[in-house]
Structure formats: C-alpha cells, structure tokens
C-alpha cells in the first residue's frame, strides 16, 4: 500500500506541471510572488500560469509592462529584501535585456556583500525554435552557465519541470529555469505527492552500451527519437538528461561515457563555446580520450521559415548521422 501511494502519478502537460509547481510552492511559502507579462488573468503565453491569478490574486501574481530589465531588477531587489520572486521572461532572447540585474547584481550579491545579501529569485524563460524567427528562438544557456553564482536548470519532462521548479523556489538562488516552446504541450507522469527534484543531478533517460548522448530540455526528446531509430540498427544509446546545467552532474556523464567509450553532446543552441564543448573538456579530463562529437544549431540565425528553421536546429536525423559517423571512426 505504501509503495503504491508513493509511486502514484498523474498525467500532466508540461505547462500544467509548471502551474502546479508554482501553485504548491506559493501555498507553502507566502514570500513567493510571480511577475510576468500577461502572467496573471491571461495565464502566461503558454498557459503555464493558468489558475494562479485566480488562486493567489493580483498582489502575488502580477502582470508587468513590457520592461524586461526592470522586471528582473525588481525581482532581484525584492529577493534581496526577503521575497522569493518568480520572474517570467517570455522568451530567452529577451533575457538579454535583463542580464544586467541578473548577472551584475543577483549573481554577485552574496559574494560582494560577504554573505549579507542573498537573492532567492527564480527567472523562468522559454528557449528554442518554433516558427518565431531570429529574435524569438535563441538558446543562450551556455552564457548563463558561465556566470559564477547563478544556477541553471532545464527540464525535459513534466515531472522534472515540476520538481525542479519547486526546488528552485526553495533555493538560495539566483536560479534560471529554462523551458522550451515545444515542451509545453507534451505530457508525462508527475508524482501525485509533492516532490522535489534536486538541482545538480542528471538522469539517465535510457540505458545503452555503445554511445553516451547528453542533452537537456527539448533536445532530450530528439535524442530519444534518434536512439529508437538507432536501436533498430543495433546501436545502443545511453541518454543522459542533464536537467541541471549549472551545477552540472559531470560524474553521471563520466560514468556513462567511461562505460560506452563514446560521447555525443546535443544542444539546440550554438556549438561555439557551447555546452558540448564544456562537457567534452571535462569528460576528457575525467575519462581520457574517448571518441567525441557534438551536435548543435548551424552557425546561423534561426529563421521563422519552416524550411530554414528545420535546417538550422538539430533533428533526430542529424543526431543519427552524427552517431553513425562517431561509431564508425
């Protein structure tokens, strides 16, 4: 009976998992407030905040003007002064407008004040391509991983979205929570009981023996699709869903890559100074010179044009091709 209730789950869309995480967190902790463009009655660009305005009212769920710099700045200041704001920046491209308060203040506040000020803020933003073009498609997770003092998480499933967001909302922060346009309408099982996913732990999504694939967010699904096809050819892929990009669970990757002897890193953003380059360096330090390859976007902006978007960002086919080449070397 006990084990049954522990493992009981409910099927939720990714967007519902986010709303649930926020709702449960806000009930538990009245310091949590939500700031976002159309985050209130409208319920967010992807309905990911649906129901929150009704439950918590306009004081705790606040629509903001289109002013990303101030949105992040206000959230950071409020965090420094004792609240736990969740600030929603609709698209990751616009996070650029709010980098000053996030990077120059929040990520450095604890350090520069010798521990007097912490900034338990969560900035949630949506990355990735889905028909919206050059300024609404970018993935700049790699930049954010390079900011000391900032944590970055990027779930691929509703359960992780819920569990990681809840952890982020109890973290000493700052935390950047990155989701993806193509994930909101995906569904998955989420534990019925309130549950947290710790920041900093990767998860092996699929076990395999020939090659280790690392991915996060929507690219985890691309990796899984590729792995299914490759399985038909007798290629066995182990897929590691990074989940947390900073801090990164390098040990889990190293264990896997050490076993399979081949590593493919997959990311939707640019390869240059990207997540794959970082993982490759660290795995090489830990595991030695194994076969490695990386897959990411072409070095080009992402067009809203469906043909060009598809050509630019990684597809399962490209992953399959890269793995074949990697294993034939």
């Amino acid at each position: 009976m006990l084990t049954e209730s522990v493992s009981a789950t409910v099927k939720l869309f990714f967007r519902e998992a986010i709303a649930r995480a926020v709702s449960e967190s806000m009930r538990r902790d009245d310091r949590i407030i939500l700031l976002g463009q159309d985050a209130g009655r409208f319920g967010g660009a992807y309905k990911e905040f649906s129901g929150l305005y009704g439950e918590f009212g306009p004081d705790r769920v606040r629509d903001t003007p289109v002013a990303e710099a101030a949105m992040v700045g206000l959230g950071v200041g409020a965090a420094a002064a004792g609240l736990r704001p969740l600030v929603s920046i609709t698209y990751m491209d616009f996070l650029m407008l709010g980098l000053d308060p996030l990077v120059n203040y929040a990520a450095k506040a604890r350090f520069k004040t010798g521990g007097q000020i912490t900034t338990p803020i969560v900035v949630k933003t949506t990355a990735g391509a889905r028909g919206q073009g050059v300024a609404h498609s970018q993935c700049i997770e790699a930049w954010m991983m390079a900011v000391p003092g900032l944590k970055v998480v990027a779930p691929s499933t509703p359960a992780d979205a819920c569990g990681l967001l809840k952890s982020a909302l109890t973290d000493s922060g700052p935390v950047l929570f990155v989701d993806h346009k193509r994930l909101f309408s995906t569904a998955g099982e989420v534990p019925l009981a309130e549950s947290f996913v710790p920041i900093g732990e990767a998860l092996v999504r699929r076990t395999g023996t020939h090659v280790t694939i690392t991915a996060h967010s929507y690219m985890t699904r691309i990796a899984l699709t590729a792995a299914e096809h490759l399985a038909e050819e007798g290629v066995s892929c182990e897929i590691i869903d990074l989940r947390s990009l900073a801090p990164m669970d390098v040990e889990t990757i190293a264990q896997s890559a050490g076993r399979t002897g081949a590593l493919l890193t997959l990311e939707e953003g640019q390869l240059t100074c990207g997540i794959g380059a970082e993982i490759a360096f660290r795995i090489r330090e830990l595991v030695g010179p194994i076969r490695m390859a990386r897959v990411g976007a072409l070095r080009a902006p992402v067009s809203s044009n469906p043909v060009l978007e598809a050509a630019c960002v990684p597809s399962a086919d490209r992953v399959i091709g890269a793995i074949r080449r990697l294993l034939n070397n």
């Binding site: 073009g133 609404h136 067009s303 043909v307």
Partner: protein, 308 residues
C-alpha cells in the same frame, strides 16, 4: 493621396488580412485590422526618401508604405519572392529600397534603431526623416526613454508614432502605463507631441504632416500618439481576452467605416462605389496570393546564406 485613395489603401489592408487569416499554413500572423488608419494616414504624410520602421505588427505599415501585396504575402507565407526571401516573415519584413526599413519583433527594439537611421540621415544632410511605429506596450520599455532623450538632444529627424491600440497581448494599456496620455512621455524632453484618434485617417495624416514639417525644418523629433483599435486577438494563434461588450465598442471604431461614412455624407462616394472598391481590392489580394503561391519556399541551403 485623395480620400478615395486612402480608403482604398485601408480596404486593401483589411481584405489582405481577411484572406490571410483564413489560411492555416503560416504559423500565425499579427493583424493590423482596426489600425489601418494609423499606417495609411502616416504613410500619406511621408516622402519616398523617408524610412519607415515598425514593430512585428507589420502588415498595415508595409502595405501602407506601398510594398507590393504579392511580395508581402510571399514573405508572410515564407516564400522566396518575399522582399526578405521568406527568411523574415511578419516579424522582420523589410524593403529599405522602397522606404520600408522594416519590422523588428523585439518590442521597443526598433526605437533606437530608428533613431540611428535618423542620425545617418542627419549626418548626410538629407532632408529625409526616419519614422518608427510602435505599440502602447513598447512605451513601458526603457528604450523609449533613452531614445527620446538622445533624439531631443541631437535634434534627430525622427518621428515616433505610437499606434496605441490600448492593449498589449492581454494587458490593457492603463494597467501597463502610468501616464495619462502616452504623448505625455515625450513632454519632459521638450519634444513636440500630439495625440489623435487613430481611427480617423485624415487626422492622422494631418497631424503627422504638421509634426514632420517641424522635423524637416531641423527642430528635432516629434511624437504622435494615435488611439487605434485591435479588432482581433493579439495574433491569429492567441486567445481573445476582451469581453463581447468590449469588442462591440472596439468594432464600432472602424477607420474604414468612419471614412466611408464621411465620404457618403459628403456625397463623394457614389452608391455602387463601395462594392466596386471592395471587388478591386479583393481581386488585388487574390493576385497577391497567387503570386505568393507561385513562389517556392527557400532551399534549405539558404539557412546558411547571408550570415556573415
């Protein structure tokens, strides 16, 4: 343009958008219906050598500026015959050679760009001006403040036009902006600023003309706020949040009906003329669609062209 031509241009935009909205093969679009008077009135006050910039809501501005409807349709449908070779779509359509410097889908993002265009014109001693159309939502962004200040200091030949349709996605303008009138935001900088009814194409044209005369005379930037309407939801993929009662008021303020009514009352518009105009513009739109559909999608190799 005479008033009939203005009417025809507004009807073309409306008809273009109706046809486009019926399609399902373009992701989504940001329609200008309800705000045709702003774009058409404004563009009538411009000269060929002027440059127009706008937000991602680019259909009315591009068509009002005189871009070929077929080319615009091609761009919106992602076809290579678009001015941007189908790479930009609604959010970044541009044809600088035709005086349409282009759309930019970052809210507020085109303000400083437009000021830069004005700076280039000023530096080259041109008599042309730079004009930027942006929404009420963009008025919350710091970019407006920085741009107003520098444009005023440097007396840039820049006309800022706020197409205030009183809402940003689902956020009513009063809830997002503390200013009583958005043109008040220009006042501290000593910038000439006017608020007009954006559903009155003639007022828009005349106010723009007045402000532009000062700008061309070297007196520095101007600010024109046009109170317009958004007849549909934010985009063809977004849910509407306004009540039916609200929408009744919104729809009652149609720039096309308004001008039609005036022209009828003055006897300028003969009884069958409207039907004829409608027929003409609908046919123009059909041609535009046919042109666009005859054009292929770009080849996937284009994904790597024009990057550097």
């Amino acid at each position: 343009m005479d008033r009939l031509a203005l009417l025809r241009r507004m009807m073309l935009i409306r008809s273009f958008e109706s046809a486009l909205a019926k399609r399902r093969d373009h992701g989504f679009q940001l329609l200008s219906s309800g705000a045709e008077g702003v774009a058409v009135g404004l563009c009538d006050a411009l000269r060929n050598e002027d440059q127009l910039l706008c937000s991602g809501r680019s259909i009315a501005p591009s068509l009002a500026r005189g871009l070929d409807p077929g080319a615009v349709m091609a761009e919106l449908l992602g076809r290579i015959a678009g001015p941007n070779r189908g790479k930009a779509g609604r959010g970044h359509m541009a044809q600088p050679a035709a005086g349409f410097f282009g759309a930019h889908a970052v809210v507020g993002g085109n303000l400083a760009i437009a000021a830069g265009v004005a700076l280039a014109l000023q530096q080259r001693r041109s008599t042309a001006i730079s004009v930027c159309v942006f929404g009420d939502g963009a008025c919350g962004s710091g970019a407006l403040h920085e741009t107003l200040n520098i444009a005023a200091l440097w007396k840039l030949p820049l006309l800022l036009v706020c197409d205030n349709n009183q809402i940003a996605i689902a956020t009513p303008r009063e809830q997002a902006l503390a200013a009583a009138r958005l043109s008040d935001l220009a006042a501290p900088f000593g910038i000439a600023a006017v608020t007009v009814d954006g559903t009155d194409v003639i007022s828009v044209r005349d106010s723009a003309t007045g402000l532009i005369a000062n700008i061309r005379a070297g007196q520095g930037p101007g600010f024109l706020e046009c109170i317009s309407e958004r007849f549909f939801s934010h985009s063809t993929a977004t849910r509407e949040t306004r009540s039916a009662a609200e929408m009744e008021v919104v729809w009652s303020r149609c720039p096309i009906l308004r001008l039609t009514g005036q022209l009828r009352a003055e006897g300028v518009l003969a009884s069958g003329a409207m039907e004829e105009l409608q027929h003409d513009t609908d046919r123009q739109v059909l041609h535009a669609i046919a042109f666009a559909e005859a054009s292929p999608f770009p080849n996937s190799a284009e994904a790597l062209s024009h990057v550097d």
